[in-house]
């Protein structure tokens, strides 16, 4: 919104105030000024000229020659304006002037005819965008040759106000409200525009009715006759233009001037077109239509409020008038509407129809109905000035809820000491007298029953949603006093360590383990899933019984591809893996951009199964703590402290009692490598690559558990789909057991201390085939909350062993059914019996497996049923001395004996090695 300093200066004495310097103070105290515009700067040499003769241009059809009287001389210039005619009074720009629009006026020739100067349009002068014709100086009686700026008050400074900063201040949507603020800041009186001396009659303007169920709070009406519709004087037209409103005619301009002055939009009907001389305000009927002033036919609903005559709608309340009752050139009788509509209703109608107008933008702010009354009176004044022959021929009809039951004035009972202490000021800084003066300037009524107590009555235009409690007065005083003059005060600080939940250090360590330790790249992704990706890849989460598990569904969504909340983080990470493999990464990882390793920490959203409510008493119901606690005494105490609006909100929340979904914190990992080839949806991965990626993911999970000081993870395949391995328990909101990407034969559930925390899996072959880039991917989804609930392992500062260890490797030929964990366990037990301390690690695994999917039982086809070679390293130590050769031989013998007993190890192998 633009605010004219000239206009402000008509309402408050601004002598000695530089509007540009004052803009800063205004921004800090009232509303943000986004720009200060100097209007008519650079027009000093432009003068008023009378066109005394017009003649054709000898060489051009569209140009003419204008003889202009400049007072001291007459000059002839070339002019292209179509509206050029003798008798016009227009601005003349002499040569040598560069206009604000950038036009340079020179001594020159136009098509062979000398043209020492030019006649200017509004656009030429930078006053508006209007360039269709010359700026005709209607109503300007200055002598030719007078500087334009002296003849017409066009020199002005405009404040461009950020509308967002005044949404809560309906009183600031007009110059009067802005001037009141300026008056308070300058400590000078507000000069109110006149509302006196209007000769209303006793006659009704029309037969007027307002439905109590409509969004209309107040409707005022008056009738004028003898109106002569004509262009407004140039000063009015330029003022409207500079404030962004198109001048139309004196009658319409009068409604707009009053809107810009008071903030209350008005509407003028041509009385001839008000059928039946009756005006009713009511809810629209479903399916009713109205052609609005912009010529568009609007379909209405019962949520809209309309103004109707005896036949049908003539205006859309608070938004736009109807074309059927528009003021036209031959209008002589005018019915004025000055109304106040419910802000929310106007906002809904305007937004549904996509028509934000100057009017709706103001009514949306929920204007004070008292302002409508002021606006009606001001319109009468302005119209009688702009159309001097007009007469008031009615009373000022005034109906509506606001008139039937006027609201009581808002009073605030507070104490001066309280207001001071909220600002951090004392009585010497914020004196009683200063307080009274500032509040009174803003039109608050201030009474002081005793030295400290205050009873402040809020003016109607600030009451309601703006000012209602003592804290609002703190703001009024603070901003007039100047927040930049308030001394800053260090808070008193209690010396105690702040509460930090264990999830915070967990997050930090997990992130460090993934990025620093495992070399993965962190992504932060949307909480919504792409449905088209899910569909293409066939993603779905299933429960143990095979049912598709529900996700949180959006009621309103921005894209049909984004309709559900994620239940797993890994789905989005899989999509990100695909995208990143498509465009490649920075290739600093030694894989030439064919490999990506990603992770995300964030929340998944798991709908709560209502019937199972009793199982999970800890579920957060979305209620304030006392209401969720179920303790009747604390509930009563809590409710007693609330005001009505809050109590209603709590009660409705209690009544619906909808649990919030589980929102577990999760960690997902995806490591993918691009593959060559693949066709017809079949993409195969080299076995060695699958093993390598899988082991990398396991390594990441192991490192995470170690970093978080949790026991090492136990990995096991689900015995049946959706069934946890025996001895493993799960909690609410746990990672779904059967995501569609789970590879039934190449996955592991991850359990820590017997608690299920998540999954590691290579992607299902069907998923591999559905990706846009052939790739092998391993996915991990871990529930950090579940991991957090497991007790930490104490770390101990043990002295390092004093005697050196001795290590040897053994490679065991195994069946493919062999499991590293089982073998390691057995071998460790055997070795530990022979020596004080031994570590057994899997060093190497190689499989002599035919690539591209040979049969698992005999992959190489050479008949060797023991194609997997597993190399173990045994590192033994004695507590009390160096290992002897005998010790090492004993360990080795124990290990070989144990290996010979393993069904999955080639029989006779131990004997061969021993030989």
């Amino acid at each position: 919104m633009f605010v004219s300093w000239n206009w402000i200066s008509e309402l408050v004495d601004t002598t000695g105030v530089d509007p540009k310097a004052f803009a800063d103070r205004f921004t800090l105290a009232v509303a943000e000024i986004e720009g200060v515009v100097d209007v008519a700067a650079g027009l000093d040499q432009v003068v008023v000229a009378d066109v005394v003769a017009v003649s054709p241009h000898p060489n051009a059809d569209k140009l003419r020659l204008a003889d202009c009287d400049l007072g001291h001389a007459t000059v002839r210039v070339v002019c292209g304006a179509p509206d050029l005619r003798v008798g016009m009074r227009v601005p003349f720009v002499p040569p040598g002037v560069t206009l604000p629009s950038g036009i340079e006026v020179r001594h020159g020739e136009v098509r062979g005819v000398p043209s020492p100067g030019m006649l200017a349009s509004e656009a030429d002068l930078g006053l508006s965008e209007e360039h269709a014709g010359l700026l005709e100086l209607h109503g300007c009686d200055a002598a030719p040759g007078t500087p334009l700026c002296d003849a017409v008050p066009i020199r002005d400074v405009l404040y461009e106000i950020d509308n967002k900063s005044i949404t809560h201040r309906p009183d600031l949507w007009g110059h009067l409200g802005m001037a009141r603020e300026v008056a308070a800041l300058l400590d000078r009186p507000l000069l109110r525009p006149s509302t006196e001396g209007l000769a209303f009659t006793d006659a009704d303007p029309v037969s007027l009715g307002v439905s109590p169920f409509s969004a209309c709070r107040r409707y005022l009406c008056a009738r004028f006759e003898g109106v002569v519709v004509a262009p407004s004087p140039v000063a009015v037209r330029l003022r409207l233009r500079s404030l962004g409103v198109r001048p139309i005619s004196n009658v319409v301009d009068a409604t707009n001037l009053v809107m810009l002055e008071t903030g209350n939009p008005l509407h003028a009907f041509d009385a001839r077109h008000v059928r039946g001389d009756a005006i009713t305000v009511r809810q629209a009927v479903e399916g009713e239509t109205l052609v609005t002033l912009d010529g568009v036919s609007r379909g209405l609903t019962s949520a809209d409020c309309v103004i109707v005559d005896e036949v049908g709608p003539v205006a859309l309340a608070g938004v736009m008038g109807g074309a059927n009752s528009e003021i036209s050139g031959d209008t002589t009788a005018v019915v004025l509407e000055a109304a106040s509509f419910d802000g929310a209703a106007v906002r809904k109608t305007a937004s549904r129809l996509g028509m934000r107008t100057e009017s709706s933008a103001r009514f949306e702010k929920h204007l004070d109905p008292e302002t409508a009354h002021l606006a009606a009176l001001r319109f009468a004044h302005v119209l009688l000035r702009l159309s001097p022959g007009s007469q008031l021929v009615s009373r000022l009809a005034d109906v509506g809820r606001h008139v039937d039951a006027p609201p009581q004035a808002t009073q605030i009972h507070t104490r001066r000491s309280y207001l001071r202490s909220r600002l951090g000021l004392d009585a010497t800084q914020l004196t009683d007298a200063w307080m009274d003066r500032a509040l009174t300037a803003l039109e608050f009524d201030v009474q002081g029953p005793d030295e400290d107590a205050l009873v402040v009555t809020v003016p109607s235009f600030r009451a309601g949603r703006d000012v209602g409690i003592a804290e609002d007065l703190v703001e009024e005083l603070g901003r007039v006093y100047g927040y930049d003059h308030i001394p800053s005060q260090a808070p008193r600080v209690a010396a105690r360590p702040p509460f930090v939940p264990p999830s915070k250090p967990q997050d930090r360590r997990a992130r460090a383990a993934m990025a620093l330790g495992c070399g993965l790249t962190e992504l932060v992704l949307y909480s919504f899933e792409s449905e088209s990706f899910r569909e293409r890849v066939g993603l779905q989460e299933r429960g143990a019984d095979g049912d598709v598990l529900p996700r949180e569904v959006l009621r309103n969504h921005l894209s049909s591809d984004m309709t559900h909340m994620r239940r797993l983080l890994s789905n989005n990470l899989l999509a990100a893996t695909e995208r990143n493999l498509l465009h490649g990464t920075r290739a600093a990882d030694g894989h030439k951009g064919t490999r990506v390793g990603l992770f995300e920490l964030g929340r998944a959203f798991v709908p709560v199964d209502l019937p199972r409510e009793a199982d999970h008493p800890a579920v957060d119901w979305g209620l304030p703590a006392p209401m969720a606690s179920g303790d009747a005494a604390s509930q009563t105490a809590y409710l007693a402290n609330l005001n009505d609006v809050l109590r209603e909100g709590v009660q409705s929340a209690v009544a619906t009692k909808r649990p919030l979904p589980w929102q577990p914190r999760r960690l997902a990992i995806a490591i993918g490598e691009r593959l060559g080839g693949g066709q017809d949806g079949l993409v195969q991965a080299p076995r060695s690559l699958s093993v390598a990626l899988y082991r990398e993911a396991v390594g990441a999970v192991e490192s995470l558990c170690a970093q978080l000081q949790r026991p090492a993870p136990q990995l096991a395949r689900q015995p049946e789909p959706g069934v946890l391995p025996s001895g493993v328990t799960s909690g609410p909101g746990a990672v779904d057991l059967r995501p569609a990407w789970l590879h039934p034969a190449r996955h592991a559930t991850v359990a820590v201390a017997g608690r299920y925390v998540g999954l590691i899996s290579l992607v299902h072959p069907e998923v591999r085939g559905a990706l846009e880039v052939p790739a092998e991917v391993v996915l991990v989804e871990l529930d950090l909350d579940a991991l957090l609930s497991v007790d930490t392992v104490a770390e101990r500062g043990e002295a390092p062993a004093r005697f050196p260890p001795s290590a040897f490797d053994l490679t065991l030929p195994c069946q493919l059914s062999a499991r590293a964990a089982a073998l390691t366990g057995a071998l460790h037990a055997a070795a530990a019996a022979a020596v004080d301390d031994v570590d057994v690690d899997v060093r190497w695994v190689s499989e002599f497996v035919a690539e591209a999917g040979g049969a698992a039982a005999d992959p190489t086809g050479d008949g060797d049923p023991f194609p997997r070679a597993m190399t173990f390293r045994f590192t033994s130590r004695r507590a009390a001395g160096s290992l002897t050769d005998d010790d090492v031989r004993a360990v080795r013998a124990a290990v070989l004996r144990c290996a010979a007993e393993q069904a999955s190890v080639r029989p006779g192998w131990a004997a061969e090695v021993d030989a």
Binding site: S488, E522, R586
Partner: protein, 350 residues
Amino acid sequence: MSTETPAWQADIDATAAASLAAIAAAQDLATLREVEVAALGRKGSVTALTKRTGQLDKSERRAYGAASGGLRKQVQQAIAARRDAIRQATVDAELADLSFDETLPGTEPAGGHVHPLSRVQLELEEVFTSMGFAVLDYPEIESEFDNFEALNIPGWHPARDMQDTFWLESGHLLRTHTSAGQVRAMHQLEPPFRAIFPGKVYRYESTDASHEHTFHQLEGLMIDRHVSVGHLLDSMRTLLSAIFRRDVQVRLRPGYFPFVEPGFELDISCQVCGGPGCSVCKHTGWVELLPCGLVHPNVLRAGGLDPDEWQGWAFGLGLSRLVMMRYGVSDIRLLLGGDARFVEGFHAGA
């Protein structure tokens, strides 16, 4: 004394000459070692001569012993001298060799990358905890009550329209601001307290380079007795100076947010020009940073606190915006766009 040269003297001389020549010819320590073994080893030529003592006449043994022992010593000394020479020459040669390319690029260790949002969030969490703030974490799917009513945002408020909020079929919503945690924090912690709660928030609005439907905020809340605008000013200046790691000036402008009264827009002195005005601050010297204010009494009530006893201040910092300011990110959609190359521009140092 016999002047006749004994017969074995020729063997001694020949062996000495051969050994000394081989020693002198050795150019490296390995060859020298071979020469040493060939001369002095168990089967070496000098050792062979020594072993011959027994075969000689007793009369000759003393002289022969002295000669062969002398030979052994001579060879040992020659080897030692040669070893020192080779060692010295090798070190000298390495020191004199300037062929090493000290400008070779480093090989990159396999370090990963932490997202800049995490990095900034973590850094802020550290700044705030060091100043006694609790760090809290609240749900992203929120109840209507916590996101709106409890924050004094009544039903008629435009923010509650469908246009601004993602609603779920379950009746809940995606929190539109981290302020939704204010009342939760008041119930969770005993006053007086100071707390921040960072996290993801959602707005139902279409995206462009400067608008996202999902972004990150950090809420700050302090509850104490007798909290004033003066405290807010002091706290904000101190906190923001810590965040920006330099002295930051702040100023307050009136701003309307239903859950604070008085409410402010806080500007900071322009971090680019430092005050005189530049294109970043639109030549005002100030940049709008965050909304803040004194906690509205209704919010305190919803949090179970008596506004006559307790007051507070609150602010909402745009984490996404801070990341964009700090790292010169021109398009907000890069933050959650999932392109690893964007994150790879940042190192893991969390």
